[in-house]
Amino acid sequence: MKSGDCAPVFAEIGKSPDSREIALGCAILEAESSVGRWAHAAPFVSASNPHRLPSKIAKEDEHLLVAAAKKGDTSAFEELVSRYEKKIFRVTMNITRNQQDAEDAMQDAFLKAYAHLKDFSGDSRFYTWLVRIAANEALMRLRKRRPNVVSLDEPVDGEEDLLPREVEDWGPSPLDRFAQTEMRGILENAIDALAPDFRTVFVLRDIEELSTEETAKALNISVPAVKSRLLRARLKLREKLDRYFRQGGQN
């Protein structure tokens, strides 16, 4: 293993590597390429195996970074930040749907994570712990902006009929019918229009792939509430996408 292989990691965090850091940096690079391969090999959710698990290699080297950060190694913490910043911004952005709020929530989430690293016991995934902090920062901002809309702590399961009306075939796969940017716009419009309490559960469960229990813990709601909101979120999103995807419809 040549130290030159790891140069980008240290160039990025602006530190000069010693041998311990080189080994850590190389482990990170290897872990990242492994995660990429895994994700590519299993891109879809299936009924039998709905949740992709994080790479074991990523889990193995992560505790080294966390342990170093706990001892005050800010460069190790910055490496953890670099690894998760994109995902954490996705969480705060998908919950707030407002870029300024999402940025503030992300910054505060990472600062709080560093300040409370000693409380991270290692029983859960570091990422899950981070998402929990980020989701709460995002929700706090969402509540400030739209105080009457977000009520995650109250029941929202109305008696409305979940049975879809006028079900129509979507025809050829929407992936083949819409360009990538167009598809992205459609998905954004649909998730924007989802009520925040449904959206938040959908984001954590289906986009960030937290378990039902992890989501319940992160949002401080019950497991049945997570399940009920996830069902409604999925059905509502299907209904919103239906307007775009039903055969012949390009609205």
Binding site: F110, D206, R234, L235, R238
Partner: protein, 80 residues
């Protein structure tokens, strides 16, 4: 099993959380009911689309401000 039960069990079905007996009953219904079959497959596709789509990018300026904030607000550790 009727359509109403199928709809309320979609999430459990997609997440693989139904008992084998219920799962069999539900799949039997899907084989006979085109509408429910469509709703289940479209809901599954909806989840897959969001799972795979990168609908949020981290803009470069947002990323830079994050690292600036960390550098200015985090204490200097023993390795810094």
């Amino acid at each position: 099993m009727n359509c109403r039960v199928v709809i309320t069990q979609i999430s459990n079905y997609l997440d693989g959380e139904l008992s084998p007996a219920l799962r069999h009953e539900l799949e039997q219904h899907l084989g006979e009911c085109k509408e429910c079959e469509l709703v289940v497959s479209q809901t599954k596709l909806t989840v897959e689309l969001y799972c795979d789509a990168e609908i949020v990018d981290l803009p470069e300026d947002v990323k830079n401000r994050l690292h600036q904030a960390l550098r200015s607000k985090l204490p200097s550790g023993p390795h810094s």
